[in-house]
Amino acid sequence: MKYAPELKRSATIALWLILLTFPIMVIQVNTIENIVVWRWMNIAGVGTVAFVLSFLWQIYQHRKTESPLPVSAHLPAFQRLLADPKLYRPMLIFIAAFALVFPFTASHYQINIMSTALIYIMLGLGLNIEVGLAGLLDLGYVAFYAVGAYSYALLNYHFGLGFWTLLPAGALLAAFFGILVGFPVLRLRGDYLAIVTLAFAEILRLVLENWNALSFGPSGISNIPRPGLFGIELTLEQSAVYMYFLLIALCLLTIFVIYRLQHSRIGRAWVALREDELACQAMGIDKTRAKLTAFALGATWAGMAGVLFAAKTTFINPASFTFMESAMILAIVVLGGMGSIVGVIIAALAIILLPEYLRVLGDYRMLLFGAALIGMMVFRPRGLITPSSRTYVFQPSEHQERT
């Protein structure tokens, strides 16, 4: 038997997991009725699943140590695809065509969740500035999102301002809030920053929940207008299509701006800041300023996404801005591969669309989603796509740059 030791180990692990899950999986007590239900069949389930998974895992480990792949082969297929213009150009055209045709072939629901996914692409790319580029771990990104959404809802409610006025206004307000939060906390190192941003986001959410006079409390704000299109009346489905294209356009803008930022003096400064804060300062980079711009720019996109979110759902309340939301956006950034635009886009689509399509699985979908997050991290800890650095080619005397 080739895999005898692995099988034995898997059996041990399966036994351990059966024991471990015994009280929760097998015994169901109802302290209200004083009934105990013994579900012995579950043992078989846990055992089989644990055995198969741990066996596969060990085979995987075995293969990895036995035949380490050459470094070039470590680049995933997709990434090789990206590196070669002959391959990625047709691919881009295909994606563009798909994006164009999609709303006319898909159902209203499909368009709707795709729009949601597009909003999360914006959020992911925005947070990518903070976490992926500048290395500032922000666990309260949802606060900026909330600022955007509430700016639109409230300013529209009180002053009747329109979507197109409030889109930049929401973005600016979020940026301002970003600076406001950023100032006191920039002295803090990594994880302290994380918990403080989390705290700020929670405070904001609790204030929105309690301060009825300002925010209408937990019952939220309804009937937020959808964006207008030169005053044309749109049906629900038409406005969903309109919203979809609007989001596509804004996503393209986001990608463009972030790509430019990433490959600029500022973007380099952020990456340097992430790599080594002290050396970065010694290179003449103003740490405070670099961090604040990263915070403010990240917040700007969240603010914009917030406005779009409010306009899309037409209803907001504080329940949409919980810590779990921040965690999901962070998961998008990390899963995508920190600092990689393409990675973030793929991850956003996966994280938002997957649970939707997993609905087939009913109650098990969040369970599997959690497992998928762990699995993805274990198999690809650096995310789907490792951002590659730009290479330059020089002739020894004539310096020619090629990107």
Binding site: W16, L19, L20, T21, P23, I24, M25, I27, Q28, V29, N30, T31, I32, N34, V36, N42, V131, L137, P184, V185, R187, L188, R189, G190, D191, Y192, A194, I195, V196, L198, A199, F200, E202, I203, L206, V207, N210, L278, F323, A327, L330, A331, V334, L335, M338, D363, Y364, M366, L367, F369, G370, A371, A372, L373, I374, M377, V378, P381, R382, G383
Partner: protein
Amino acid sequence: MNYFWDLFLGGLTRGSIYALIALGYTMVYGILQLINFAHGEIYMIAAFTALIVASILTMQGLTGFSVLILAGVIAILYAAAYGFTVEKIAYKPLRQASRLSPLISAIGMSIFLQNYVMLAQTSDFLPFPNLLPQSEFLDSISAWIGPSDFIIIVTSSVVMIALSLLLKFTKMGRAMRATAQDREMAMLTGVSVNRIISRTFIIGSALAAIGGLLIASHVGRINFYIGFNAGIKAFTAAVLGGIGSIPGAMLGGLVLGLAESFGTGYISSDYESVFAFTILILILILKPDGILGRSSQQKV
């Protein structure tokens, strides 16, 4: 003045529980620099296990102290086993990865465990039997301090003192502290880092289980979601006290509990959590490494 005393005790009770859970966060953080978001779920699983064991025992006709001890011990063992397993599955393969990957894995684990308990047990709140012992002594002081408050404060103090002694005077404790200081150095001196990490998770989870047991008995109800909020608060407490610092986690928990209690009592419970988070922000702005955190003057 009486009102003040009541709020103080309430805060102390809640703070002790925060501190017990915060210890798990701070120990894991000290060694792995990982915010173990699944830690709160361990606390929840411990409470469920205790509930299951206690119910079965009660139905077998056992009562009182023996139920408490048996349910408690089994819950603590199980929590420790869960902590150990969670580390092996979700964090150990990620030892070499960037610091954010285990964080996401931890969030995934937290979602998984919540749904696991919800699906295998129930989404409803279940009443939790009051396992805490009753005695004449407790009755006699009940005007002055609630019996369960008294037990929670005393138990958690004893546990925390025991932990401090363990870390200070045993070989394992020294190895753990050494690993927290400098993992590579500890490895060079022959400490098995993997074993230390496992033990850290086991001890941290056991502490959380004790917290879970105490609070479930005190509040009298549990569901699959109780770990999440407690986890966030406990993590806040750990940071407040200076993450990585054991006395810091204890102090942080108490400060947080008291802040919430007094905030509710003298201002408004609408903003209960806001008080906790505001204190956190203020303290970190004044002392960026937490109350008892080691100052981390960068070495150049």
